[in-house]
Subunit: 308 residues, 2 copies
Amino acid sequence: MHPIRLGLVGYGKIAQDQHVPAIRANPQFELVAVATLGPHCPGVDNFSSLADLLAHGPQVDAIAFCTPPQGRFALVQQALDAGKHVLVEKPPCSTLGEAMSLIDEVKQAGVSGLFAWHSRFAPGVANAKAWLKGRTLTQVRVEWKEQVRKWHPGQAWIWQAGGLGVFDPGINALSIVTDLLPGSLFVTSAALSVPDNCQSPIAANLSIRSQAQVEVLAEFDFDHSDNELWRIELHSEEGMMRLDSGGAQVSIDGVPQGVSEEGEYPAMYRHFAQLIADKQSDLDLQPLRIVADSFFVGSKETVAAFHE
Amino acid sequence: MHPIRLGLVGYGKIAQDQHVPAIRANPQFELVAVATLGPHCPGVDNFSSLADLLAHGPQVDAIAFCTPPQGRFALVQQALDAGKHVLVEKPPCSTLGEAMSLIDEVKQAGVSGLFAWHSRFAPGVANAKAWLKGRTLTQVRVEWKEQVRKWHPGQAWIWQAGGLGVFDPGINALSIVTDLLPGSLFVTSAALSVPDNCQSPIAANLSIRSQAQVEVLAEFDFDHSDNELWRIELHSEEGMMRLDSGGAQVSIDGVPQGVSEEGEYPAMYRHFAQLIADKQSDLDLQPLRIVADSFFVGSKETVAAFHE
């Protein structure tokens, strides 16, 4: 079978660090073109826009979108109009309206689409799915605490209206939890701490209930320097599994477990190739919907101004 | 044909003023039972809960929900589990997650459901639909400005987290606009004014774009005493239609037009009866989704504290 000829839009940090290495390590794909306004990607044709790539570039079968979510909707629509499969970095769009419309438009275009909730491909998530089978889950506790100055230096858009603030990392935790728990998750309350000079929260405490009435408590903190942690505890009647480091490490009742050696992005691109082969899509709105519901029902408390 | 035997849950102001008179004026329905913790509804059996009504009341075919949106989700689920058709006052639920789940659950229950966006049944909306055919819409301007102290005295829940604030009336305008314009509406920006002692906005300016790239500008104000107005202007290349008084009055290029004499709630219950006869549902998420997107991407400005 021929490899899937892939174009990539937005050659920024996440594209350079994760997407391109994962694509190049996977013989199912061939990276043939990049659209970017920044530095060029070596070894492929570079274009200044997706429109230019589609009009004048080499033939592509699929497009991966690594630009910021603002403005991405119209770009993905261009690719769909051209009949291309699409992989869309998280969060897929800047509003629920756009994301819901994309789900319909991918279907209408008859192509494969993937909302790239990459944390679902963390090695430990597979362990957790297997472990949950036959166990009775009683509570889920999430702690997702990191230092924004370290991970998002100078990224003012995170704090603006429409920026996710602490939900930018937090949505990764939500993408794992929604993957592990069947049915819908309902936000019952949310407490958001918004810096005096920002529009988006720097910390959030969520109380969520699953369809099966399992309580999910999540603490997100974006100003946490010592002992950063990205942890999900699955408490069951038969013991406790803990995912650490965003799902890269797993322990059961304190005993470390072995996990797959495949990284998140390689596993995600393998999934994307399989979706294309199967003529399927994987476009889950739920992590974004939970964030929107948290803003909707959340109480906001103004806290000290944020300065880098 | 036998009338549809109807139970009603929540006998508060909206039920007394609108639902019960509309139901009793329509021979397609027979109101047979009410569940309420407040004053009893005369002429029917009253129960202290929906569970009690379902277990011990007269046989019902459908349930109308007039309780506040908080807590309504679980009640509607009870009715669906009992195989009843459901009419759910606006807004249907307190979160998008709950509303999206209800849409699935109505389908699974094999009954008819209606999210009761009552303003869509304002007489002038039919005029507007007819007028828009063959015209090229260029812009929609909404002004929805009223005095909250007059319409919601003592209703503190409006201002709490999860309360809609000025979107409680504003969602009526959005329900009309989404009914008139085809496709999805996308919130491009929102400016929310939140009183210092409240969690919900007292005013909002929205900028919205339709799928056909028509601009919709909306101004909502909840502290407007003189000359209250509930107005939608439809600007087209061929002239301008204006809906006033929430759609009860219509003019074209300044010339008043005749409208149907049927009120909103009578027309809505006629629609509900037709849905049941046709084994169909009408569960539109879009007005609630637009409100949630407005909270999600909106910039919040703190304004003077609100006191009744």
